[in-house]
Amino acid sequence: MARYGLLIDMNRCNGCYGCFLACRDEFCGNDYLPHSAAQPYSGHFWMRIVERERGAFPKVKMAYIRIPCMHCDDAACAKQGPNSAVYKRPDGIVIIDPVKARGHREIVNSCPYRVIYWNEEKQLPQKCTFCAHLLDQGWKEPRCVEICPTNALIFGDLDDPDSEIAQRLAAGKAEVLHPEYGMQEKVLYLGLPRRFVAGSVVFGDTDKCAANVTVTLTGEGEQKTTKTNNYGDFEFEGLAKDKDYTVQIEHRGYKPKKLKTRTKIDVYLGDIVLSRSSH
């Protein structure tokens, strides 16, 4: 038996919302009993997207964090519902029974990820089913995965070593959104945003972009070195949150410059002007 999981590659997502719209298209107004009752026309976000803006003008990066049901092996909602109203199928998909769960609003609040939505009209808690009704018909993937134009969503059998998802996970770089919940989530992420430190270097005497300048970042017990590009820009990505870092800029014929910063938020240091050394 397969054990289904979803890998979300943040580096490939451009925030087109295709997954969100495909989900609404599949579920709004369509009952798929016994897996799910119809999603209301608006108000539910079974494929929720949180937009996180990083940095400051002109150095801004976007992170589109997609938060569907995590289909946890140790799901909090499954413990909450009465009479197996929430259960895990043999293939690992967590289902809220659309009949047994009627009226049990407490199931909505059981999920720390907040991915269960209350259907006021039907008095029913509802969420993503990994399109279980389609998988049972022989589909290989849910609608959101099928629609993704950049292949940022990878769906498959976690236990099959030949599946794409298992091979991508073997690199060991994927992580869960909130490991502190400890619920053995089966939705995993690549490239979740951390912190960056960036800046733009200018030659003070010529007022030109300082290309090919050596920039060194020190902090958290490690040292990284990079060179500025043609526009004098540099960037250190994937740094720890809320830590102290020092940026050192050196170029022949110019006075070295040292800047201290803390990664409370993503840091854009702005224009850094180098002045000529005296000899």
């Binding site: 919302y17 969100f20 608006s42 803006e53 400051a56 003008f57 801004v60 134009p149």
Partner: protein, 226 residues
Amino acid sequence: MVPLPEPYEFKPAFRWYYEGRTCDTPDTLNPKLGTDKAHELGTYSGKIEFSSEDLKKHTPDDKERPPVPHYIPSWEGHSSPLAKKYPLQMISPHPRYSFHSHFDKDGSWVNDIPAHRQFKDGYYYWSVRIHPRDAEARGIKHGDVVRLYNDRASVLCAALITERVRPGVIHSYCSSGKYDPSEPGKAYTLDRGGCVNLLTSDRLMSKNAPGMAPNSCLIEIEKWEA
């Protein structure tokens, strides 16, 4: 996704010219298509012209579309006198989440995409992007209903405070599929639907270039409290 036909031959624009072949794109307006000059570009010289021979011959005196393209201060931009009254420059490119006004019918699912519309006080307002500095100066917070206005019109939108626009620039998509005037049938009344191109000029780019020029537009914004 729409599948490609099999087999599919990719024909990127101007690849034929780069490789010295005859034109293989369905460029029906190319006058040299099907002639012995089909390997040339459609310009007088047959090459890429930094100074257009065509414009030199036909409209050499057009100051707004000169034969050699270069920067010309806008007739409605940050350096024009109107900027004292309306200091913000609005750009209104094509929308990202609908095809022009297509698929943007009332109650559409794209309404729940915050970059498209935001739900505020029982109404889906069109989103307008404002830099935090400009917003703070006007007491505008994320999600506030704001009024965009100049001498041409007034439009209500929902503020989306973002670092993705530079200070002094307002960004909002054109092509809202909903026009919702406060006094139907009367022009120049307040529009709640988010048709921001009511604010832009209807003049053309130049007297010889019949393109619309919606990005030369100065406006002011204020927090709207109805």
